[in-house]
């Protein structure tokens, strides 16, 4: 009987992950002893865990290490993203604290599942091995299927959960098959090892075919996750059916996590094939922009409009992803920075926008129609201001966070020599401003259509304020955030 020796583990790398997963499991047990009327406590405790995990990350800044046989990596890139995930989780939970009891769906498992989803996102940001990326993707997806169907009194929620499950399982199959082909072509599943194999030896034509086919399948799988065209068709229905805080988490956390691993995969493993994947992704980015923004233009339903707009934003982030792989070092670095900056700005903005929808939503009725926002300025001035800030940020108008994000992705794409997609992107952004400003006009100029009471809870107010302030601070004082992302180096340039 041989003794099994577990290899030493660098706990700094896994610290944040362990806190989140451990705390989620502990909360599951604590929830047993909390009476049903006080389920809220679990929500507060979940936020505490998130804050602890975020603080635990501060001394880890500057660490560049990997552990678990090189499968898990902590660098400035993943740490920044982890903070972003934690922030979006905290805001989501704050927004849910009031929403869940109001909809009659408050259960302690909700908060636990949100924490598990955060852990899955962190795995996607930190994973340096295709196995971990796949497991993280599945973990995140399974939690999100359940959360999407969480509003069980509404049939639409169940339907959305089912749709998401079927599409997600389909996408997961693509990823696995792609990983198999990549392994067959390069003999490794570690991202860096794949990149080194490509740099070191010339592949035979067949191997190159398998490599590209595998990479394409993996990109398709992640394309479903981040809702880029033509893999976006699930997004509007699922976003509309899901409980609104979950929609917020879906549109920011899950998208950011998908892009985090997609970027690492493309830059670390496939930088050598940039000439091939850049034009393909550029075409997809343009298609995504077109589908998302044209779809959003025609919507009367604000929640659905935000779903289409979030498809459109995936297109802008793709610009940054394309630039990040550029062989030119300056453009590549600017690409990584732009993706992170865009994700930060977009996360706060979208959470704020969904927060306003949550504040408007009453039990048993949806307040997602454009008319429900009419005259909001007279009824609830602060709510109207928060929504206006978020809409301006989504449209990319200064002085909001969204402006800097757009500026960065456009300059990155320009530097990478993709002048034509930059021009198209700017034109589409100008068109998109129309439907965002239409909402602002509704709120400030139209007469109130109805005098519905708007109960607001302290947690909801805090969550909404945090998100809106985040957008404004990012807009007026962008230097700290830009400083932060400029320290992030990804791939072989490091």
């Amino acid at each position: 009987m041989t003794e099994i020796i577990i290899p030493p583990i660098d706990w700094r790398v896994a610290a944040q992950l362990s806190i989140i997963f451990g705390w989620a499991s502990v909360l599951l047990v604590i929830a047993l002893f909390v009476p049903r009327s006080r389920t809220r406590i679990i929500g507060y405790l979940a936020i505490v865990g998130v804050i602890v995990a975020a603080v635990a990350g501060i001394p880890l800044w500057g660490v560049n290490a990997e552990t678990f046989s090189g499968m898990l990596r902590l660098d400035a890139y993943s740490l920044t993203l982890n903070w972003l995930f934690l922030a979006s989780t905290a805001i989501t939970i704050a927004l849910s604290l009031d929403y869940l009891p109001r909809q009659g769906i408050e259960r302690s498992e909700y908060y636990v599942l949100v924490l598990f989803a955060t852990g899955g996102m962190m795995l996607l940001a930190q994973g340096a091995d295709l196995i971990i990326l796949f497991l993280g993707l599945e973990l995140l997806s399974i939690v999100l299927y359940v959360l999407t169907g969480f509003a069980y009194p509404r049939i639409a929620s169940e339907e959305a959960g089912m749709k998401y499950l079927l599409i997600g399982a389909f996408a997961g199959g693509f990823v696995v098959f792609g990983i198999a082909l990549l392994y067959g072509a390069t003999g490794s599943m570690n991202l860096r090892a794949i990149g080194e194999t490509l740099a070191r030896q010339a592949l035979t034509p067949e191997e190159r075919t398998y490599l590209l086919a595998g990479a394409a399948l993996v990109v398709v799988g992640f394309g479903y996750k981040v809702a880029m065209a033509p893999f976006h068709m699930w997004a509007p229905d699922v976003y509309e059916g899901a409980p609104t805080p979950v929609t917020g988490l879906l549109s920011v956390g899950s998208k950011a996590a998908g892009f985090a691993s997609l970027l690492r995969f493309l830059v670390e493993a496939l930088a050598g094939e940039w000439q091939i994947w850049a034009p393909v992704l550029a075409a997809l980015a343009i298609a995504t922009l077109a589908v998302g923004n044209i779809g959003a233009l025609t919507q009367q339903n604000v929640k659905r409009m935000l779903a289409y707009s979030s498809i459109g934003h995936a297109g802008y982030i793709l610009f940054g992803v394309i630039a990040a792989g550029a062989t030119d070092g300056v453009a590549g670095q600017r690409g990584v920075e732009s993706v992170l900056l865009y994700l930060i700005a977009y996360t706060f903005t979208n959470l704020g926008a969904f927060g306003v929808l949550i504040a408007l939503e009453q039990r048993g009725e949806a307040a997602w129609d454009m008319g429900d926002l009419a005259g909001l300025w007279n009824r609830r001035p602060w709510l109207a201001i928060a929504m206006a800030v978020c809409m301006l940020s989504l449209a990319g108008i200064p002085p909001t966070g969204g402006f800097w994000g757009k500026l960065y992705v456009f300059t990155a794409a320009w530097l990478a020599g993709m002048g034509w997609i930059t021009v198209i992107g700017v034109i589409i952004a100008a068109v998109a401003a129309f439907y965002y400003l239409r909402i602002v006009a509704q709120m400030f100029m139209a007469e109130p259509a109805r005098e519905a009471p708007l109960p607001m809870d302290r947690a909801l107010r805090v969550g909404l304020t945090l998100a809106t302030l985040g957008v404004l601070i990012l807009g007026f004082i962008p230097t700290p955030a830009i400083d932060l992302v400029q320290r992030v180096v990804l791939g072989v340039r490091g």
Binding site: P7, F21, E109, I142, P153, L181
Partner: protein, 217 residues
């Protein structure tokens, strides 16, 4: 010996293929599940043929023993599923045929044409292959693949929590969603009981009962 193995392989492969085809073509869904079990058995036998005993046993235990029984339970507990009038093919079945066929041929064509995949070299004769027995699998999970092992554990836990959340939703609460008016009255009653509260909720006081009844439809 080698001929025997080849013959056995061909028999098992034929069983797997035939069962798989029957699974997707028979009209009766219970029969389809039974054909699926037969296909699982064939795969288990193939594992044994490849000297991966542990995988073979696990295949029989988990897939034949547990998964297929669950499938049968799910079929029998679901109403309106056994109708034989259900359509088998969608109008665009040929697309569904072409895509998997293309993906499959991507793998099988080079293998048949003896393309050398970049795989780890086989172990020298006499030694067991890298991952075959329970011992090697266990050691690999504890050393090299510790993280995937742990993450898979979390994944299964989460899946179980999710299944419980979905399945054990409280039925009586599902039907009984408080209307807005009831909720306002409830909140007012709670506030009266809690008086003197330091600061009443501004939103709740803004609502008059008459208004609330009006908005309830």
């Amino acid at each position: 010996m080698n001929t025997l193995i080849t013959v056995l392989f061909l028999i098992f492969a034929a069983i797997i293929l035939a069962s798989a085809i029957m699974t997707v073509t028979v009209k009766n869904i219970v029969h389809a599940a039974l054909w699926l079990i037969s296909s699982f058995f064939g795969v288990g036998a193939l594992y044994l043929l490849m000297e991966a005993e542990f995988l073979g046993v696990a295949q029989v235990l988990i897939y034949v023993g547990a998964v297929s029984i669950l499938i049968l339970f799910a079929i029998m507990l679901t109403r309106d599923l056994e109708g034989s009038q259900n359509r088998q093919l969608t109008p665009r079945w040929w697309i569904a045929l072409i895509v998997p066929a293309a993906l499959f041929s991507l793998l099988i064509v080079p293998t048949v044409m003896t393309h050398a995949w970049q795989l780890p070299p086989p172990p020298p004769a006499g030694q067991p292959p890298a991952i075959s027995g329970a011992q090697q699998i266990g050691a690999a999970f504890m050393r090299e693949y510790l993280l995937p092992f742990e993450v898979a554990a979390i994944l299964l836990t989460v899946a179980m929590i999710g299944a419980i959340v979905v399945a054990f939703e409280e039925r009586e609460r599902r039907r009984r969603v408080l209307t807005l008016a009831e909720q306002v009255r409830l909140r007012q009653r709670q506030q009266q009981r809690q008086q003197p509260a330091p600061r009443p909720e501004p939103a709740a006081t803004a609502v008059q009962p008459s208004e609330a009844t009006g908005s309830e439809t």
